[in-house]
Amino acid sequence: MVNSEKLLSVKDITKVFSIGGLLTGTRLTAVNEVYFEMGSANPEIFTLAGESGSGKTTLARLILHDIELTHGSIFYRGTDVTRIKNRKERMGFMQRVQPIFQNPFETFNPLKRVDTYLYATAVNYGIAKSGESTDGVVDDALRSVGLSLQEVQGRYPHELSGGQLQRVSVARALIPRPSLLIADEPVSMVDASLRMSIVNLFKELKETSGVSIIYITHDLATAYYISDRIAIMLRGNFVEMGPVEKVLSEPLHPYTKILKESVPKPVLGEKWKDKIELSTLEAKEFARVGCKFAGRCPSVMDICKKEDPKNFLVDERTVKCHLYAKQFKNSIL
């Protein structure tokens, strides 16, 4: 039987923040008409990549329903996420969709032992019934991330390393058996040399436990390593989205190209050659009319400064760039 129900369907969602007073304030469009879907047949790792101010964290919070949409719709397995009001529905949703946060040392209360959260999750979602089986549930979850109850029991956050804490955070998120994990920069606060253990863990979770993951990062190297699809975000817009092999090996959007080139490689002899133009004030770029990248795009054209480009379907991905307008006029999304 074909499961036509999508795991996650995000349609044209927009989030506008008002900063400042009613009369004098400005509006900031943090997320602009974002559209993507994740299927439920096969688990996948979908990366949201972008720099600070790109809107990726806001998008994550919208999907988790921590904040309200301005317009658009989000459906999880056919249920409208924005209509979840009462506690029972909310618990049901949280059981299926769990977050992993960026800073492992802030994820847990420094005055509490970390295992308390694991036990709480096991009990509150009804995964463990009695006192004894709770230990078993928690131990299983810890083992699936490469730790054990023995190592973690009774420990305070400062007694564990950042990498270990992040793994405990993943274990906690796995206890209710979610279908979707939303990991917001899970390795950016972990040393570069220790990231692989967490990143490999995500890969394994997808392959053996069937969990889909939305992986949010600004590190394209780890994104390339584990994602199936990737979306590059700039000032609230998806500028390029598609299979990771295509997007990162043969980038089409000028921003993706610069982003990819700027990733430092741990190999000698590949130093950057061109000088890079850095934007001055973020607020200016957000307020731009037309394409948000026009201010620093090496291939900028006149139309870019006037009109916001549409999404064009090019070579298995969508690109939001006027450069592709003429050739692919008929493939407009």
């Binding site: 977050p99 994820t107 959260y117 709480a120 955070s169």
Partner: protein, 285 residues
């Protein structure tokens, strides 16, 4: 608990001093249960006797042995301070936690009430209550009234602490672990709030006992019950200093000075110990 006290005793000089003083005063006040004299009786012993071996603190102009009188006075003052502090802590924690966690309209209503209480001038109000209740005024009633007046400042402190804790990531983790609002406030936030509660409790004790002394000296407290304040009141009524019966005034003043200083040092050292920052160092962080 015992190990905490031991730890502090060994390493904090202030605590050591305060601990000895407070324990001494508590033992002293518990002697009241063995007093050979009834606290409100008078003319049991010869009046106006200076301190001697027989009458350690001397005797008052009403023929009372000041030593035994003081045991009651200290006991009542301590109980008064503790009950006022406890009652007002309960109110300030409830108000502060609720306002901080709920936010929105509930928070604003609570804070308006709160701020009204902060600006009320207490002394005139207490004098007013005294006139209303007159003979029915007893120590417990006074304690209740003061508790209802003394919570507002600290409630605000607690609320701002909770507000900042709400924004921290571990609060979100608790939400996603399925915890409800009340358990989150109690298990996640309260440990951070406790140092404030503790510090303000002792502070409140000092405030209420001090205010009671002021009221009593003016004759506005329950003058039949012996407390530090009423002892001074009666001494003044009998013009003790003029009559040369200095020990009647000296006894309550000296003992209460020790008590207040001891309480203050206790608060300072315990507060530092409980503070989350030093607590981390202690656990080994």
């Amino acid at each position: 608990m015992i190990s905490t006290i031991k730890n502090l005793y060994e390493h904090d000089r202030r605590f050591r001093f305060a601990f000895i003083v407070i324990i001494g005063i508590i033992i002293f006040s518990s002697l009241s249960f063995f007093s050979p004299y009834d606290p409100s009786s008078s003319y049991d012993v010869p009046s106006d006797q200076p301190p001697s071996i027989k009458y350690f603190f001397g005797t008052s102009s009403r023929g009372q042995d000041i030593l035994w009188k003081m045991t009651f006075a200290i006991r009542n003052s301590l109980l008064f301070g503790i009950s006022t502090a406890l009652l007002s802590r309960i109110i300030s924690i409830l108000v502060g936690l609720t306002a901080g966690y709920k936010g929105g309209i509930g928070d604003r209503i609570l804070m308006s009430i709160n701020d009204s209480f902060i600006v009320i001038p207490m002394l005139p109000l207490l004098i007013l209550f005294n006139f209303i209740f007159q003979e029915k005024m007893n120590l417990f009633l006074l304690s209740l009234i003061m508790a209802c007046l003394g919570w507002a400042w600290d409630a605000r402190l607690i609320r701002s602490q909770v507000l900042s804790l709400k924004e921290r990531e571990f609060t979100r983790t608790a939400v996603y672990s399925g915890m409800k609002s009340l358990p989150i406030t109690l298990k996640e936030h309260l440990p951070f709030v406790m140092p404030i509660v503790f510090a303000t409790m002792i502070n409140n004790m000092l405030w209420s006992m001090g205010l009671e002394v002021s009221l009593a000296v003016l004759g506005l407290s329950d003058t039949d019950t012996p407390t530090i304040g009423t002892t001074i009141y009666w001494a003044n009524q009998h013009q003790a200093l003029v009559a040369g019966v200095w020990w009647w005034i000296a006894a309550p003043i000296v003992i209460s000075t020790f008590l207040f200083v001891g309480l203050y040092l206790l608060f300072a050292s315990l507060n530092q110990y409980i503070d989350p920052r030093t607590r981390l160092l202690r656990i080994g962080g």
